[in-house]
Structures are given as C-alpha cells and as structure tokens.
C-alpha cells in the first residue's frame, strides 16, 4: 500500500507537470486574449501526432521533436491569430463567441486527425536506455522522468520569461489591465498575436511530452485534455500563470491518488468534482486571484 501511494505521488507529480503546462498555456490565452480555447486539447494532441509522424517516418526521436513542435506550432499559432481573432473581437460577446468558435475548431481538428490517423490509439515505440529507473523503492519509466525534466525546464523558462523579461512583464500587464498597457505604448495587437503563438507553441510541446508520459493517444483524446486544462485553469484562477502551474500539480496528484484509493470510474468523477466545487465555493481559484476585467 505504501509503495502504491508513493507510486501515486511520483506519477502524480509527473502527470501533473504535463497538466500544469496545458493549464499555463490555456490561462495565458484567457488572460491576454479573453479566449476560452476549447480546441486546446486538440492543439496538444496535434503535438503528439507530430512527434508520432516524425518518429515513424523520419526516425526523429521524441526529444528532438520538441523543438520542431515548438517552432511549427508557434508559427501556426501566429498565423491562426491573424486569421481568426481580430474578426472575433468585433462580435457582441467575444468571450462566449470565442468558446463557440473554438468548439467548432475542436470538432474540425479532431475530424482532420481522424481522417489522417484513423480512430485507433497510437503510441510512439521509442524506448530510452535504461527503460526504467529506480526512484526510492519504486521503478519509474525513463521516458516519464525525462518528460518531467523537460516540464520543469520549460516551466522555469516560462516563469523567468514572464517575471524577469520586458515582453513577459508586458504580457502579465496585459492580463491585468488591457487598456492601461496601451497608454504606456505597448502594441497590444502584436503582443496578443505573440501570446496566442506562445500558447500554441507550448501546447505543441506538451503534446510531445504526452506521447512520452501516457501510453497512447488518439484523435478523440483532445477533448479530455481540454477539460483537464479548464479544471487546472479554474483551480489556479483564470489568467494566473503561477496558479496554473500549482493547480496542474495538485490536479495530477489528486487524479493519480484517486486511482489508488477509488475504483476507476469514481476517479474520473473526482476531476469534475474538483472543478464544480472550486467554481461554486471559491471561484477565484486556490490563490484567490482573478484577472481584472
């Protein structure tokens, strides 16, 4: 039992890291652009499929797929921003309309992935050497440890970017007050495009990590990750990057420990329960922080 709990804790940390990244990119999007990206899970799974294609047809290992995913998704996000968002901003209620548009986007992207890869679950048949490592008394697969290392590096880099560099500070300032930042002379349009591209880039990278951490993924997995992303974002406070990181870890731990203590079916409900509970009891999230309107 003890080793089971320990196992749950370690895996929770690893899985939670991935969730934290999904939540972080989603919360950036919401904070800066007021876009509720229902298609985020599909962006993420798109990254997984990119890693799959790179490995199976070109033999590129997943770790090298990371920069490829980052760059290509960043570029795609930049393009998508200019195609979609300026027009969306003109509607009566951009927030709800963004949700609806991204709903459509998620259906379309899932359909595209379904056409390309069929409905079967896919996994990347790549093994690190050694295949697993001993952490304390339990064994953890090397792929998961590597993925966790990457997660930590990316989160640290993003935290540094958001809190220590000028563009990062501008991004956070946009989250806090979109009007005021324009008075100071920041080109919000460009900054928004950058935020969208950055969030998409992170999503792509997270997708590659998911291919390492989870046994399989398919064209329909996206919706699941979108919902997890929402839970993490709400738990951390809408538009709060640090909150999202912490909430991701908490959610990962809760999910993995729930599978230890509860039957499979109930464990799935735990996630939804956390979401509903947080919103009803403490809508500002665990850190009690809310983006200003």
């Amino acid at each position: 039992m003890e080793s089971l709990v320990l196992n749950g804790l370690i895996n929770g940390l690893i899985v939670g890291g991935v969730y934290a990244l999904i939540g972080l990119s989603l919360t950036l999007l919401y904070g800066v652009l007021r876009i509720v990206n229902f298609a985020h899970g599909e962006f993420v799974i798109g990254g997984s499929f990119l890693a799959y294609v790179l490995f199976n047809s070109l033999g590129i290992p997943p770790l090298l797929a990371l920069p490829v995913a980052a760059v290509s998704f960043f570029a795609a996000g930049w393009l998508a921003y200019y195609l979609l968002i300026p027009r969306l901003a003109r509607s009566d209620d951009p927030e709800i309309m963004s949700f609806l548009m991204m709903y459509g986007m998620s259906i379309a992207l899932a359909a595209v992935m379904l056409l390309m890869f069929e409905a079967d679950s896919r996994s990347i048949d790549y093994a690190f050497k050694p295949i697993s490592m001993k952490v304390g008394p339990i064994y953890v697969s090397t792929a998961r440890i590597v993925a966790f290392g990457v997660t930590v590096v990316i989160s640290a880099a993003l935290a540094w970017f958001l809190y220590r560099t000028l563009p990062g500070k501008a991004l956070r300032a946009t989250i806090m007050n979109r009007e005021a930042i324009q008075i100071v002379g920041v080109d919000v349009e460009k900054l928004s495009a950058f935020a969208f591209a950055l969030a998409t880039g992170i999503a792509g990278v997270t997708g590659v990590l998911i291919a390492l951490v989870f046994p399989a993924f398919n064209a329909f997995s996206g919706a699941e990750y979108s919902i997890i992303g929402f839970i993490v974002v709400v738990l951390g406070g809408l538009g709060n990057p640090i909150g999202a990181l912490i909430a991701g870890i908490i959610y990962g731990l809760a999910e993995q420990l729930a599978t230890v203590f509860l039957p499979q079916a109930l464990a799935q409900i735990v996630g939804f329960g956390i979401l509903v509970g947080t919103i009803l009891i403490r809508p500002t999230g665990i850190l009690g922080w809310r983006a200003q309107r």
Partner: protein, 327 residues
C-alpha cells in the same frame, strides 16, 4: 389633453396592427410547419430526416430559452437529453411502462435535473459554461457506472419490439409544437420580458421588482424540460439507448450551432437555423460522408466569424423595424 390623445391614438392603433401582423405571421408559420410535418408520413417522405429535423428544432428552440432569453450558455446541454432518454428506456424496459406513459417522466426527470443544477445559475459567462460541461460529464459517468441491471451497461438498453416510427413521429411533432407554443408565449409574456431584463442587467431588473432568482429558475426549467422529452422520444424512435450516444457532446454542439445559426433571442431564429443546418448537414452527409464532421466544425468557425448574430438576428439588425412583426 386632446393633443396627447391624438398623438397616442395612432401609436396605439399602430401597435395594435403590429400585434395583428405578429400573430398572423406566427399562425401562418405555425400552420405551414404543422401541415408540412403532418403530411410527411402520409406522402411517404423521408421519415427519419424529418423526425430529426423536428428534434433539432425543439432542441435549438429550448436552448434558446437558456441562451437567447436568459443569457446562459449551457455547454453541457446534452445532460438533459441523455437523462430523458434513460428515464424513458428504464421505465419501459425494466418497469414495463407503456411508452406514452413513460415520456412525461422524462420531462419530469429533466426538470428535476434542472433543479439540481439550479445553484450554478448564480455563475455567469464562461464559468457557467464550463461548469455545465463538467456537470454533463458527471451525469454521463454516473449513469455509465450504475449497475448493469438498471442501465444495460455498455450494450445499452433495447426497448424491444415497441418501435412505432409513425406514432413516435407524431409524438415528436406534438413535443415540437408544445415547445414552439411555449416559446411563442414566453416571448410575449411577463416572464419572458423579465428574463430579458435580467439578462441585460440583473441589478436594474431587481430594482424594478423582478424576482431575479425565481425568473432565472423558471427560464432554466423550461430549457431543461424539452431536451429531456426529446431524449425520451428519440429513445423510443431508435429503440435503443446507450451512454455513448445519449451523452454525446456532439448533441450539445449541434444544438448550439443550429440555434446560433438562426439567431439567439428570437422565436423564429432557432427554427430557421435548424431547418437550414439540418438540411445542409444531410446534403453534406450524403455527398461527403467522410468529412461531415470536418465541415460541421469549419461551418461553426465561419458562422461565429461572419454571422455571429445568425440569419434572423442579422436580418433584424439590418431592419430593426421588423422586430415587432417577426416572432
């Protein structure tokens, strides 16, 4: 004094004539729609297509009460539909109810679920949408994990040899007419006006003496009742219910898309939207079955970008003076 009455009199008569046009239009539309659907089985037209057309009109119209009238976006709308479907199926299959006696219980189940979700009405905007989505997920998981003797497990429930396509078609028609009648009444009634006032500015409405909580709840329960009935009738029509199809997110997606395509907040909007989109969907499905979903997704994106107010909404925006004539 006399000047005042003179100024008021033509306005009153104008309003009277506007009212007359409004109700004449409503009656004509209602009459044409009912006659058309009544004739479908008689003329041996495509029964399934028209059954689903009525189903989507009902779903989109009821959704409109929650979104267009009350300003909520329940992205877990399928929960009501699924619970309604399972209520009818369980009552018929396990407790041997006659189908027609089971259907009202689907409606009651929908209203009960609506009452259970009522605490979420104090949320707004995106919070409400996300919670609704999560609650639908919980409903699906709970029903999936009920004992197999009750819900039939992953095989679902079969209603056996109770299929009566034509009768269920007419029952669906009754449900649709009931829904449209309710919404037509709602749009002119005190409750409907109160709902709109609360949607636009809850505090101001509260100041004017509107019981905000109660008005919201009534609107919400109307919106919960009809999808549950739809679920029940559809279960009867297809003769089988399982969690995968009864709680399919696509049901919500289609409902929302059809309602938005026509225009939220008007009575005719969701009808026109469902008509257009179901017809388009059928056309696309027949021509390109493999990329049906892809086109549905892209259509949604384009709709939001280029026609966010929907067909009727855009029309009324161009011609605001028609607002008083078009239901």
């Amino acid at each position: 004094m006399s000047l005042k009455t003179n100024a008021a009199a033509p306005r009153a008569s104008e309003r009277e004539s506007a009212r007359r046009i409004y109700f004449t239009l409503a009656a004509i539309i209602g009459g044409v729609v009912s006659v058309y659907f009544v004739l479908v089985p008689v003329l041996k037209l495509n029964l399934a297509f028209h059954f689903y057309l009525m189903l989507w009109i009902t779903m989109a119209s009821a959704f409109n009460v929650a979104s267009g009238f009350s300003g909520y976006m329940p992205f877990g709308y399928v929960a009501f539909y699924g619970v309604g479907a399972f209520t009818t199926a369980i009552l018929v299959q396990k407790l041997h109810f006659p189908v027609l006696a089971a259907l009202p219980f689907s409606g009651i189940a929908g209203v009960t679920l609506g009452l259970m979700f009522a605490p979420t009405l104090r949320l707004s905007g995106i919070y409400f949408a996300i919670v609704s989505l999560a609650l639908a997920g919980i409903c699906r998981l709970v029903i999936t994990n009920l004992p197999e003797e009750v819900t039939g497990g992953s095989f679902g429930l079969h209603l056996g040899s109770r299929a009566e396509p034509v009768l269920s078609f007419y029952v669906m028609m009754c449900v649709m007419l009931l829904a449209l009648g309710t919404i037509l009444w709602l749009s002119r009634s005190r409750l409907g006006k109160a709902l709109r006032a609360v949607r636009d500015d809850a505090e101001a409405a509260d100041m004017m003496g509107v019981n905000v909580v109660r008005v919201r709840l009534y609107g919400w329960l109307i919106a919960a009742f009809f999808p549950a009935l739809c679920g029940g009738v559809e279960a009867w029509y297809t003769n089988v219910v399982d969690t995968e199809t009864a709680f399919n997110t696509l049901t919500t997606a289609k409902t929302v898309i059809y309602a938005v395509a026509g225009g939220l907040g008007t009575v005719t909007g969701p009808i026109v939207g469902a008509f257009t989109m179901v017809w388009l969907d059928e056309l696309i499905w027949r021509e390109f079955p493999r990329i049906n979903m892809l086109i549905l997704g892209i259509a949604t994106v384009l709709l939001v970008l280029f026609l966010p107010r929907g067909l009727i909404g855009t029309l009324l925006r161009r011609r605001p003076q028609w607002r008083r004539y078009i239901p």
